[in-house]
């Protein structure tokens, strides 16, 4: 529906719901059960609550560096909701919404940002690769996941996320090209949040849209209002289905905005005006979705308040548990370098253990 008719060179953008929560393209409206709708909304809201509270903890000196994804909730939840549980996600590091939708326990997520590798030991069924810090590198893994799935006859699609900044890396190019050549079951989501730290999207590339980069690989590319949960879901669903059918990869540009700082180490006032941020607050993906749900009678202020309180409490409790989790045990740092410690590692481990024992550490 979308992919065949969309011309990324026309600088159009798929939108189904406007910023007031009105459905402007009813003919494109995806079929989603009320239950699923609520699941999406709640995940977005949950993500927002986590971000807000974590930023608070960070300011209180209780959390290490944290990368919020304020404003990008629809991009992430809308796309992840189009996947089956057995599908894969190769994330960058700003995909909290996708993690949550795929079932990642908050405790894990907190543990990771709290500086403990155990956080990335997710329940197996989550099927999201660990956070990948080297920009765009994870896209290559998605192609491999997809290749293996097809080879093994598994019904699995692999989705990769990358930022607008990440599109500049060679890995972006190679992954799309390889996926296209091999016609792999991949979906690539660019979260175009307009910034790579302080660097604006127009510095990253001169192409009118990021979606049109798909033309370089002979695959469909499409630009979507990333703050519109329905557009994100509908387009991604089509791309996922296409991938699953064996028709190859799709590039989706989710046009959105990073409403918060890059990370808690960043001060965005150095490079952008508050007024710019406010313009985007007006397009908030959660507000928009809530208006829609309320209009449909699926949600109300009371539910909102109750859910927020319950989740807020859950976040607080989870964080407090994680906060008490303490330091990484010595053996953990040695036990996962290889399946088995090498003799050299074993010797280093024993030496350090002996030293700790001697010093009473």
């Amino acid at each position: 529906m979308f992919l065949e008719n969309f011309d990324p060179l026309k600088d159009e953008m798929i939108q189904i719901m406007d910023k007031e929560g009105n459905i402007v393209k009813p003919e494109w409206m995806p079929e989603v059960s009320d239950e699923e709708l609520l699941q999406m909304y709640k995940t977005m809201r949950f993500s927002r609550i986590i971000d807000e509270k974590t930023l608070q903890y960070q300011r209180q000196g209780r959390m290490l560096t944290y990368a919020p994804n304020l404003g990008q909730e629809a991009t992430q939840v809308g796309s992840a909701a189009a996947l089956k549980q057995t599908d894969w996600v190769a994330p960058s590091f700003r995909e909290l919404g996708a993690w949550l939708y795929k079932g990642a326990p908050l405790e894990n997520i907190f543990l990771y940002w709290f500086g403990n590798e155990m956080g990335m030991k997710m329940p197996e069924e989550v099927r999201v690769l660990p956070i990948s810090v080297p920009i765009a590198s994870q896209m290559q893994h998605a192609t491999g996941l997809a290749y293996a799935a097809r080879y093994r006859g598994l019904d699995e699609v692999a989705m990769a996320y990358v930022g607008d900044g990440g599109t500049s890396q060679g890995d972006f190019h190679e992954a799309l090209n390889f996926a296209a050549v091999q016609s792999l079951p991949n979906v690539f989501i660019v979260q175009n949040n307009q910034f790579a730290i302080s660097t604006r999207r127009k510095i990253q590339t001169k192409s009118q849209t990021i979606a049109q980069k798909a033309l370089a690989y002979g695959i469909p590319g499409i630009q979507v209002d990333g703050n519109d949960i329905f557009a994100m879901y509908a387009v991604t669903k089509e791309a996922v289905d296409r991938a699953r059918r064996g028709d190859g990869p799709t590039l989706i540009e989710a046009y959105t905005y990073r409403m918060g700082a890059h990370t808690t180490s960043d001060d965005p006032t150095v490079y952008r005006a508050d007024s710019e941020v406010e313009e985007w607050v007006d397009k908030d993906p959660i507000d928009r979705f809530r208006k829609y749900l309320m209009g449909k009678g699926l949600w109300d202020e009371e539910k909102e308040a109750a859910y927020s309180e319950e989740r807020g409490l859950f976040v607080k409790e989870t964080f407090e548990t994680v906060e008490k989790s303490g330091l990484t045990p010595l053996e953990d740092t040695y036990n996962y370098v290889f399946a088995e410690k090498t003799p050299i590692l074993e010797a280093q481990y024993q030496a350090k253990k002996a030293y700790y024992a001697k010093e009473g550490k």
Binding site: E117, M118, K121, P130, S137, Q140, G144, A148, D171, E174
Partner: protein
Amino acid sequence: MLVLNLVEAVTSALDVAMEKDKNVVVFGEDVGVEGGVFRATKGLQEKYGDQRVFDSILAESSIIGSGIGMAINGLKPVVEMQFSGFMFPGYNQIVTHAARMRNRSRGLYTVPMVIRMPYGGGVRALEHHSESLEVLFAHTAGLKVVVPSTPYDAKGLLLAAIADPDPVIFMEPKRIYRAFKQEVPEEYYTIPIGKAKVLKQGKDLSVVAWGAMIRETQKAIEILEKDGYSIELIDLRTISPFDKETIIQSVQKTGRFAVVHEAATSFGPGAELITSVNEGAFLYLEAPPKRIASVDTIVPLPKGEHHYVPDVDYIVSELKTVLEF
């Protein structure tokens, strides 16, 4: 028994591994239709089909990066870097992902992948076709680094590498790809990673080498033994994790130590071995340990290559200084 040269032994290992486990896949530049520029994958695509053996796009980061994804999702990729000097575009994927996925996910996701690469000089090749980059892998936690020196070892070590649950860098000394043949079992066998092999016992000096330098060192030792010296030669076989114990025991016996390698001298692999000998056998040392290595210049093009890599005469001359100290 087959009688194979080293590159044929590599092919044989791949064949046996693919026969044994349908999740072993092979890809890289030109490895499919052509069977690789050194023919290491010759005949495999015909036998196993173009889903299991395929030509990659010309992009090392894609080869390694997609290999990582495949390994996570149940395959055993054995990928080829056309020459070790061309692995650099894929180095980011090796260091930041292949080596770390197990640790990063605390064992949830692992990367049982083998990255094969012809390495080393002495074949009068173009620029970037002759490097010896052991250290770049061995200094990186999470990687194993294996170098065979004979056809027999090549097959057994490669099969061990493929069986290994973690990423293995498999460096093939292309200078001796076709230098000699050897009896090699037709069937599956492995040689343990991490174990050196004492090729020859000796009393006066312990020498460690690997890959193509084994042959040069053997010749040097033959010459020296005519003068009455008794020299122990150890084929390291695995550069990381290397077999410290075998080396230390040997030096404790002989009191002298030398290492011969093709990699550049400074911050090279020899420095690690000498330091380990210091740590494990310092009081046994009767002479300063010696490294006999390529110099710290850029690898010269063919007309200057002889100035770079140690040759037999040079090894003899250098070993003598240790023996006569």
